[in-house]
Symmetry: C2
Subunit: 107 residues, 2 copies
DNA sequence: TTTCAATACTTCGTTGAGCGATATATCGTC
DNA sequence: GACGATATATCGCTCAACGAAGTATTGAAA
């Protein structure tokens, strides 16, 4: 899973959100580092919906603008959690050079 | 940086290695999870060499088989370390849900 | 008043990484 | 003699990322 896709899922952990809201939330969560391009976002949402990791959770019109809400499925929560663990382990390969094989015990 | 590329660099932290050795080392480091496809490996090495993150460190013929050694540059070491920190922070967004903004203080 | 930034979704086209497949070659084992 | 491990080169496909352009509303600033 790529970083943009990961942050789309992570942004939805706080509850359903719409496209633009996800972009803003991902930027917050990453301290400004991850700025999802619109093409990336909507492409990722379509893919994730196809994979059953998110579902459309209704639409709403606010001040003349359409909002389409997306919600994490249970599969989606599992996937993003597994991905976080995977990244943590991968990071430790480099950051934990003094005891590089420590995490491998539980893997 | 993608996971395959990251593990190519990580495999070289122990010292210079050749293509096939990198594949095996990456598999070890990831507890068997990361199996670099040959096309991925040599493509990544070319790219990384072009970016100055690795350099060719001599060739050797062992039992009739050519070995081309690659070595991490200082830039490469920096890049893989930065990448590890980035992944750790990204992982914490999900795993550290009880105090999600904790790391943002130092970021 | 009109222009600009923010909000909000759609779609197109390009780029490039990942990767399977194929080719070539040696060596040891079964 | 066939197969698996070791070892590199290269082609071509697929798909994610992403910039860009299009459409549309609202509010603030100039």
């Amino acid at each position: 899973m790529s970083e943009p896709t990961y942050f789309v899922l992570a942004a939805l952990l706080d509850g359903p959100s719409h496209g633009y809201g996800i972009i803003k939330r991902a930027e917050e969560l990453s301290a400004g580092r991850v700025r999802l391009a619109v093409g990336t976002l909507y492409g990722a949402l379509d893919r994730l919906a196809g994979d059953g990791l998110v579902v459309v959770d209704g639409e709403e019109t606010v001040q003349g603008r359409l909002r389409r809400y997306y919600r994490l499925t249970e599969d989606g929560k599992l996937a993003v959690t597994r991905e976080a663990v995977r990244m943590e382990q991968a990071a430790r390969v480099v950051t934990g050079r003094t005891a590089p094989a420590a995490w491998a015990v539980w893997a």
